[in-house]
Symmetry: D2
Subunit: 324 residues, 4 copies
């Protein structure tokens, strides 16, 4: 839904077809009445994908389902771009895939064809990519905060408390997304064991040598949209973080270096990631705010598509946040 929200108004891309399994045959606005008058195309069955020759495809499938779809597309000779919002092709190492996702990878030969799509850090590769694995939401927020320190060999130890909205848990009703249990509540889960750690370690390794451990506490928060994280770091040496972040993101329109710790509401509905911090000798807390559905998913996918097609990175994405 969020990808369609962003592409519906995109100046260069046209939403050609939407494929669905359960909702195939329905009008999109019948399934999602909020889109009535905005986007009303009929959804096609997944099988019809076999004949689609669109310039690009965005996959928004449950975990583990992208592998088979990509395999079929490759088998029938589809040569357009593929952007996968899921986690199937983010990790290069199949052993790590098994470690983090608890199952064997079904299509390891396809992995090398995928570029990891953290737009600000792997821009050159993304521009050349045919297949792209869009990063996880927590992974995006945490990497954007940490990689400048990693890049400058400033990161010693780190612990992360990151709070996510309920939209990160998908549309299926469950105990953890029940309004009665989530409203006014805070609940940590998968402490020291969240699967997004894998892609963060992988990016860190690609930039530097760091033998530390992420100590990551994911938290379910009482809001729908957004990820807000407080990241406590110890630096390897005294350093002012201002130039570190400014240099890292000087040419990156979607990362905003803020004067004070950023508020979550300032990025909601937008593709911005806001980063601010407070230092005290070798210690610092870096605060990050990001919309999990935009920069943490569909927005970064569109940003990557922009890069892959040689468009301005910001095309269709510079709408202001919905602060209120």
């Amino acid at each position: 839904m969020e990808t369609i929200r962003l592409l519906a108004g995109h100046p260069a891309f046209t939403l050609h077809h939407i494929y669905a399994s359960k909702s195939a045959g329905k009008g999109f606005a019948d399934a999602y009445p909020a889109f009535s008058g905005v986007f009303e195309k009929q959804m096609l069955p997944m099988e019809a994908l076999d004949e689609d020759d669109a310039d690009a495809m965005v996959l928004a499938l449950p975990h583990g389902h992208s592998m088979a779809v990509v395999q079929k597309l490759v088998d029938r000779g589809y040569t357009g771009r593929i952007v996968d919002l899921g986690s199937d092709f983010r990790l290069k190492n199949t052993a790590e895939y098994e470690q983090y996702y608890g199952q064997e990878h079904a299509a390891p030969h396809l992995i090398p064809g995928f570029v990891y799509g953290l737009s600000e850090w792997f821009t050159a590769d993304i521009k050349q990519a045919a297949h792209l694995a869009n990063p996880g939401c927590f992974a995006t927020a945490i990497q954007l905060a940490l990689l400048p320190l990693v890049h400058d060999h400033l990161l010693d130890t780190v612990s992360i408390t990151a709070i996510t909205g309920s939209s990160g848990s998908g549309a299926t009703a469950s105990d953890t997304t029940h309004f009665s249990t989530r409203f006014g509540n805070m609940k940590a889960y998968k402490i020291f064991g969240h699967q997004h750690e894998g892609e963060i370690y992988q990016s860190i390794r690609s930039l530097s040598v760091w033998s530390g451990r992420l100590h990551f506490t994911p938290v379910s928060g009482p809001f729908v949209r957004g990820i807000w994280a407080a990241i406590n770091v110890k630096l390897t040496r005294p350093a002012d973080l201002q130039p570190v972040f400014e240099q890292a993101y000087a040419l990156k329109p979607f990362v905003r270096v803020t004067k004070t710790a950023p508020e979550l509401k300032h990025v909601i509905g937008s593709n911005f990631t806001d980063i601010g911090w407070k230092q005290q000798d070798l210690d610092a807390v870096i605060v990050v705010a990001m919309d999990n559905l935009v920069k943490g998913a569909a927005g970064q996918a569109v940003q990557n598509l922009n890069l892959m097609f040689g468009l301005d990175e910001t095309a269709g994405l510079l709408t202001p946040p919905l602060v209120l």
Copy 2:
């Protein structure tokens, strides 16, 4: 859970046993960790109910399940009081039961044994009751606002907009209780067709002759606890509502006649129902605020138990609301 919350601190009743189906064998505080240190008894299987000789039993079962349990209790000669929180025995007329619940009543012979437990209006009958059908949450709020007018033959026409918290939908996760769809949202459902209308009409008929129609719009609101309703009425004749409500509830400790339209937060966690109104010639809007889980369910059940056992009506129930 709410019945146990209220009975755990009751001065006269002792929580003897808890019976459960799925959670049988577990400690109550294992299933509900919030009760650790407060109430930790092991839950017994439903079958063990056969030998329980408690002075009273409170049934909190899914719709349609009380009938069989009551039948078994009666069959084996259980002579204690029974309070049913469900809807199985609220309607005296089986044809109406079928109309409102869309199924035949499985134990019509047990219905006459039940007293309808709207504490403030059927007090004398409740005091004598062996079996009691606790009213529905919407039905309690609406009746407490309307019956004084009905009693005084003041009610001409009425339309009701009543907003309920998510706790009224039970603990099972569903689309309508998903945090992502309910947060910041308002959604009407079952307009002109909510099953609680049946018990309201039944009480109205017991007090007076009124040939009007309730026009009831139930609404899912973005909060967990409470029912708040705005009830628009046209009066049959000019009348100051102040003495009408004051006389109706002068001796009723749990209905508070407020000076201005009551706020929902002022009753949360308590057994109070607050009623205020604004009049203009023959028109009036009556505003009601009530905790759906307390006066709308478990609290009224305890209040009825107090009445049934000759205790002070307020025993164990005069805790202040959790305003903040």
Copy 3:
């Protein structure tokens, strides 16, 4: 802020200057960090308005402050369009202005120059307007639901329960906007006495003869954005409302006639007003959902500017809602 959010991405209008009193001299994104990277112009002092020759001006001032500003603009011969978001020029009748706002009107001679900007109903006048009074938020939602019935002489009696988000109360902190008192709360205010009734009566009179009374209960709800209303009406004669609403809004892109009662979240962030209803003989409840800051304020202002400048009514406004 909302006007700027909508104009920042408008295809035909360019945001020329922003004038402010307290924040004059500051960059817009310094005052509102969420707009960093999107809109960063420096705000000018109100005095500098004297030399502005923009094609149009949008006034977003506290109640009662537009009169003097318009007077000054007229005095110095400004000939561009003026759209006033405030309430100073909505009522044609100064006696009614005094009745609803409790003060004398300071510039009655300017009133006739203003067109009342309910886009869907006074389109022809709006297209010709030099000065436009943008409707109130409650007034917009209620009129869009009622005027089709008024137009077809179908409205007999009506009572309205309308819940608004906290953004309708402005940015100044007060008891009614304190998070601790509003969270999880519902609170009615100004029952039968809200100032928006004046403009609703005025529009009704312009379409038909109706001697009834609006019975309007405004309510503060526990959300930031949006107005949701349940409107109970009695019809003057049996009539299917489907063709009534469909004919009224067939050519109106921002009013969506929905199949079931609309949900608030389906319009948030968008300029849509969704209207659905349920009928039973002569009675009906009409449910309306609208974003108070968009169609209820800044969005309707942009829609009116589009009409005033001969643009497509939807220019810059067809972004999908932020459902989640």
Copy 4:
């Protein structure tokens, strides 16, 4: 208000008089309608305090106002117990008071008479105390999580992310408590500089020698009640934290050692503090959940009064949480 909520149902204490400045002369339930029918005493002017000979007084005054009141009570020979909810007498060292509160202490000679009231750690002193300084909310949650480690010389480094509800900011409306800015938002403030650090360091010093630094990030969360904190620690040596916490709190009824990381809603409305954790070699994250108005303020005050008067520590405080 919260103190009165808890004392209204206390089995041993009787609420004698309430003194107020602005609201003097009003009935308590007129000022706080939620208490109608529960507690309705008239509030007396602060001056009348001069003649009060109650066995104990609880002061709930704005920061800096307790000093003068205590001085007056001492001067006129009041010999009852005093419990101060404010921060005036928490710090023993006046230099630290000035450092954390930015002003000179006006009554340093009174400080030695006050016992710091963290009930679980300074129980013996509290039982003997005539004057008691009730701990701050953040300080209570953080100390209950850290002191067991400090006591066992297990604490090496620590960083704290603690989220508080809006009720911690008091009743006065301000930008940070505006519903529109706080709803769905997360906002850090006073990073590395919160005034509660002082009392935490003071308690740590009283138990052990630790030369580390608290790295404390306080956060405003989108809920009214509660403090939830994730505390990342590095241990000085390998150790299982289970016996550490169990021994520390075996005899402490209001600290519950939980099997998994505790949820905020499980303590709301109650005097419980729930503590759980996850370890990985020398690293651990300790999660704490507490109601800021109960154990973080009024509840701990009542608990301390129970101790001071030789009552059971739990008297009047064992009500279950309002989980929903």
